[in-house]
């Protein structure tokens, strides 16, 4: 083993042609390329991970992250006994569960339809337009949502002939959040499915047509099986982030009157941590969120692994 770089080697690599030391020396320029990315990742990703310990400390600015007093699970106890705790967990899970339930199938269906479109120019234009909302900032999207839902002169109220202030109705919040999410990202979501479908052997369609299969039958028996494994993969990834409700949109659409459904953990972590500077408490709540996510990811991956052997996340 050669000095400083031995930390990044593993025994499995010893089986190469040249001796390991020589191969490390041959590649010094590649290690040098990795230097800045590795340093950045250590400082801004791994040190903060180590800093999670302030969730178990009573952080005081004067004593710093590594010197504040240990207090065990006190912050977690405080969170679980907070009056809005159950509501936040429930809102977080329901919001992302319903997003997944409605948001997952739509890109698949869109991709299956677009793939069968025979008019190439129309197909390309449709794809371009479907991608567009993905490239717009959440801030702008939420501005549009507020304009469209405005009780006086908002598009939705104009069409329906009503004057409802939707953002003050907690019953409407989830629908607003999920529908706008689908509007923004379902089009972008088709890419990975379109790419998979592009690799389908054309002769399969021809053969199916000769056998008299309708378009619907071709989709069902040729296209859908192609997409199964990538769908399972996507489902695992989504299930693993069920607790990751995006902060931005909820925060921008939240009003005092829709909090019964819009109060989620991510917003609480921000308010406690950045607005109120309760650093330790906010970290503890965030850690709870992350741990639940990881458990979900592992569980779903196990279940899905049993269903289809050839899929597992990277």
């Amino acid at each position: 083993m050669s000095g400083s770089k031995s930390a990044v080697t593993s025994p499995a690599i010893m089986s190469g042609g040249k001796p390991l030391e020589k191969r490390i020396k041959d590649n010094w320029q590649l290690y040098l390329m990795l230097l800045i990315p590795v340093i950045l990742t250590i400082i801004y990703k791994y040190v903060p991970m180590y800093g999670i310990q302030i969730a178990f400390r009573d952080y005081k600015a004067s004593r710093g992250m590594w010197g504040s007093e240990w207090i065990g699970l006190e912050w977690f106890e405080r969170f679980f006994t907070a009056p809005t705790c159950a509501r936040m967990i429930k809102n977080t899970l329901l919001l992302s569960f319903y997003s997944l339930l409605w948001g997952f199938p739509i890109p698949v269906i869109l991709a299956l339809m677009l793939n069968q479109l025979r008019f190439q120019r129309f197909k390309r234009v449709t794809q371009t337009v479907l991608y567009a909302p993905h490239f717009i900032s959440t801030m702008v999207i939420c501005g549009m949502i507020r304009i469209f839902l405005s009780p006086s002169g908002g598009l939705i109220n104009l069409i329906a002939g009503t004057s409802i202030d939707f953002l003050t109705e907690s019953a409407a919040f989830r629908t607003i959040y999920i529908a706008s999410g689908i509007w923004q990202d379902a089009g972008w979501g088709i890419i990975v499915y379109m790419a998979t479908l592009a690799s389908v052997d054309t002769s399969l369609y021809e053969a199916a047509k000769v056998d008299g299969a309708s378009m619907f039958q071709r989709i069902l028996h040729i296209d859908v099986p192609q997409l199964t494994s990538i769908m399972v993969l996507n489902l695992i990834m989504s299930a693993g982030s069920l607790m990751n409700v995006g902060f931005e949109k909820v925060w921008l659409l939240q009003t005092d009157l829709n909090k019964a459904t819009s109060d989620v953990i991510a917003v609480y972590v921000y308010q406690q941590g950045i607005e109120n500077a309760k650093y330790s408490y906010s970290t503890a709540v965030g850690l709870f969120n992350t741990v639940v996510n990881i458990i979900l990811l592992i569980v779903v991956n196990k279940i899905a692994g049993k269903i289809s052997e050839d899929t597992s996340f990277i």
Binding site: Q29, M33, L34, Y44, R118, V140, R146, I191, V269, G286
Partner: protein, 302 residues
Amino acid sequence: MNTMTKSKKTTGFSEKVSDYILVAICAVVLFIVAYPLYYVLIASVSNPYDVYAGKTFLLPSQFTWDGYKAVFADPGILLGYWNSIKYTVVGTIFSVVILYLTAYPLSVKELPGRKALSIFFIITMYFGGGLVPTYLIVKQTGLINNMWALFLPGGVAVGNMIIVRNFFENSIPKEMIEAANIDGASKWTTFIKIVVPLSRSIMAVMVVFSMVAYWNDWFTAMIYLPGTQKAPLPLVLRNILIKSSASASQASTISGGYAELNKMTEMIKFSSIIVAALPMLIIYPFVQKYFEKGFMAGAVKG
């Protein structure tokens, strides 16, 4: 992609019917996605009273550029625009360089420690310090109120890095790299002279992804760059779009009292949406043809 074009001769009657049904459904989807954007565009050049009276469903009413004039006369918005351009240019160059510096070594199969290094980066996709610990480290490294707080803490965009790495593995001919090795080219020379020029398509995609991310970001700036002087455009628009308040500069320049100010505030909402969204909407179609290819290279697990 051009799979279905040459099969017209076998098209029977029912085939045609299902084609038309398909086109009809797609047209409806197209309308649902495009109409909200079109409506904002129309409203941005119309009299706001007509917009709120429902007179602008299809065409503008009392055409006017006043909204855009007001947007470009607002020093706050202009400063935000300039800040956003600066952050987008610097951030994109930085991110793409970092992406390439990481992806290439990790794509070289015979690099000792490749797997461990890959795992080192990929872990950060699934687990992180969270909001506050990251904030405290950014603070400790002296980046608060510094533009680099927008770029450095993001580090390596691991998802994109995997796409680029897989592209290198699958789409750069091995023979060319071997030939360069035999000619005695160093790893760095091979990277600059062969890999970078041969990966222009994936680079274009990554440039656009980074541009979009920086142009649209406001949360990082809200936390790390407090104060109005360094706010990017979306953060400036928050006052107009979310809090629905006129900026002080507007209030002072508009004569005609509260009603006029209110009218202006409403107009600016529509025109500022267009002004903020348009640059990215113009750019992405240029690299759209590479999206699928890029994702394909990224989806195939190397």
